[in-house]
Amino acid sequence: MDSLSFDLAATPLRDLNRFLHQDAVTQGIKQVTVLHPDGAHNIAVGLSAPVAVDIEGHAGYYAAGMLKHGIVTIHGNAGTGVAENMMSGKVHVKGFASVSAGASAHGGLLVVDGDTSLRCGISLKGGDIVVGGSVGSFSGFMAQAGRMVICGNAGDALGDSLYEAVIYVRGTIKSLGADARIEDMTESDYQAVGELLAAAGYTYDAHEFKRVASAKSLYHWNADANQEY
């Protein structure tokens, strides 16, 4: 047996997470299906084993939070902070994601097929995020490293206070945040976007995207910038 189902309508979440943390590896389980998630919070948080977890429905807050290994697929929508602080692995949300998707992720790939709400990729530390739809305001806020690919449109204040993270946008940008600017795409940008789109399963042309990065004018504290910080 290398796969198993957990029905959250009948089994406590604690049992699922304990199994994923402790028993999945020792029992050689490669695939876990989660039935009736019904918006439960904290599904598959702290997964460190190379297990594929399929959540058959909507997940609540922090699904796949702090993922280290494994692939978590949410066949529905995800609540606040999906894949927050992810280190590696892959999280794929087939529906929409709420606020702070991929917050402070250090590595790995988060794919959201639908839209994400406010602050997608906030404080990103090195992970990659591909959004099939549009992102809400303040996406990429204080993002330090990593990449975001937005296939739809971006809301207000995109990339406010970016450090070294780079955001690629295919659609429109309502407004740029402080210190963010649109830059020319280079060959390595096209390549990066192409690879990320392929990893996410999209066929858009990388040449349709523009690059948003930090102007670096606020890397050193500047009193004259006043409220720009």
Binding site: V45, G46, Y61, M66, T80, M87, S100, S104, W221, A223
Partner: protein, 451 residues
């Protein structure tokens, strides 16, 4: 000199209370540079504090214990509410969170070694957990801060407790500012930042926005760690009564309240001096909140912010804290503001180094510069040599041991064979302000202002 000349001469030397030298300097600096002062350490203004309370040692109505012969327990257990592995400490004095980045790696190691030898805990800080720190600390509390620098699941699992930092006493509501001098290659790597930039850390968590979210965040951390580790919630002291209640409702095992005397590596002076309430007032509010919820003893309370002596600790416990956390006192123990440092066994004067910073031993608050004359708050490799782990650990151990001896001495004088038996009845206030804030009777009376 006629009368008129005499009066004019006298008036010419009369200072203004509203515009004293300090405020004039502030205005001159603001006018010259157009920016506010950023500095390290805590509030300099005098506020009611533990010195304004006295312990009522036993006489006839109470029976004291022999100071030098009878035992007084200091064992302290934190995180008994939900965690399957609560923290067990030998003393109720812990080391507050201070980051690698703000402090050198040598200092972090010193803290771990001293804490381990005395059976207490130390705490990480903004910047993540260093290997030296984990290795040297038997009990290590891992902070989950708004910036989430270096925060990762491996370290969460390696920790003995997790402290969700919502605010600091020195700057409730504010983020930090680590100036570029301190963003060394190692610090930059841990924080995923470019080297040498001025790093502005966030004032709020990226993935939750209020107490309802915090409930789920805490649940996430518990699920992550299979409900083993205590979850602390740390708040800067402001609306403490309500904040503590919300933290209890959110599911905290331990609440840390940091009063306005608490230190910082670097923030705006206007924050340090003008935001937050004194530790004394916050402690009473925190205890009130726990009592109101009937959670006193079920959720443990750690108080920090200007706890300096064994007497402070005794008074804090008597007011209702389960433990204290010390930051600035620890830095002083390591040699902060000392006029000399020891390098290769030889004592050297640090006076020139203080002078170069525009200050002097005893007045320094220049942690933010990264040029600490005694090698504590620096990432400069040469300066960091001025405090080697051996010496740091020894000095800190001596300090904490002294505090604990003072604590037990005072507890025994109050007739207690366990420091956690100290109670409000063992205290009186020396000033009306302290009596009102701590809600204790003014010494020699049964008058509590406002009650």
């Amino acid at each position: 000199m006629n009368d008129n000349e005499h009066i004019l001469k006298h008036i010419a030397k009369e200072g203004s209370a509203g515009y004293d030298r300090k405020i004039m300097d502030y205005i001159h600096n603001a006018a010259t540079h157009g920016l506010y002062e950023i500095r390290g350490m805590g509030a300099k203004r005098a506020v009611p504090n533990f010195d304004d309370l006295v312990l009522l040692g036993a006489s006839l109505s109470r029976y004291p214990l022999e100071g030098y012969r009878e035992k007084c327990s200091t064992k302290t257990i934190l995180g008994t509410r939900f965690a399957s592995k609560p923290i067990e400490l030998e003393i109720p004095i812990t080391i507050a969170g201070m980051s690698f980045g703000a402090l050198s790696a040598n200092v972090k190691e010193s803290l771990g070694r001293a804490a381990t030898e005395l059976g207490t805990s130390t705490t990480t800080g903004d910047g993540g957990m260093t290997a030296e720190e984990r290795q040297s600390s038997k009990t290590l509390v891992y902070q989950c801060l708004p910036s989430r620098y270096g925060f990762n699941p491996d370290d969460v699992r390696r920790a003995d407790a997790i402290e969700i930092v919502i605010g600091q006493g020195a700057k409730p509501g504010g983020g930090g500012m680590l100036l570029g001098q301190k963003i060394s290659p190692r610090v930059a790597k841990m924080r995923t930042l470019p080297e040498g930039i001025d790093q502005r850390s966030a004032c709020r968590h990226p993935d939750w926005t209020g107490p309802d979210d915090l409930v789920i965040k805490i649940h996430e951390l518990r699920e992550m760690t299979d409900w083993e580790k205590p979850i602390y919630v740390k708040v800067g002291a402001t609306r403490t009564f309500h904040d503590v209640k919300l933290a209890v409702h959110a599911g905290a095992d331990v609440i840390v309240v940091d009063g306005m005397q608490g230190g910082t590596a670097a923030t705006q002076t206007c924050f340090i001096e003008h935001v937050g309430i004194p530790t004394l007032a916050a402690l009473r509010q925190a205890v009130d909140a726990l009592e109101d919820l009937n959670m006193k003893g079920k959720v443990q309370l750690i108080i920090s912010g200007g706890v300096r002596t064994g007497a402070d600790v005794a008074k804090a416990l008597a007011m209702g804290a389960d433990a204290v956390a010390i930051g600035q006192g620890v830095l002083y123990a390591l040699g902060c503001n000392h006029d000399a440092y020891t390098l290769d066994g030889v004592v050297h004067s640090a006076c020139n180094d203080y002078e170069q910073l525009g200050t002097a031993a005893g007045y320094c608050h220049h942690c933010h510069t990264g040029r600490c004359p005694v090698g504590i708050t620096t990432q400069d490799e040469q300066l960091a040599q001025r405090l080697m782990p051996d010496l740091g650990a020894k000095r800190l151990k001596n300090y904490l041991k002294t505090l604990n001896m003072e604590l037990t001495t005072l507890a025994r004088a109050c007739g207690k064979q366990n420091v956690h038996h100290l109670e409000r009845e063992d205290l009186a206030a020396m000033t009306i302000e302290a009596a009102a804030m701590a809600r204790l009777p003014l010494a020699g009376t049964d008058w509590i202002p406002g009650v």
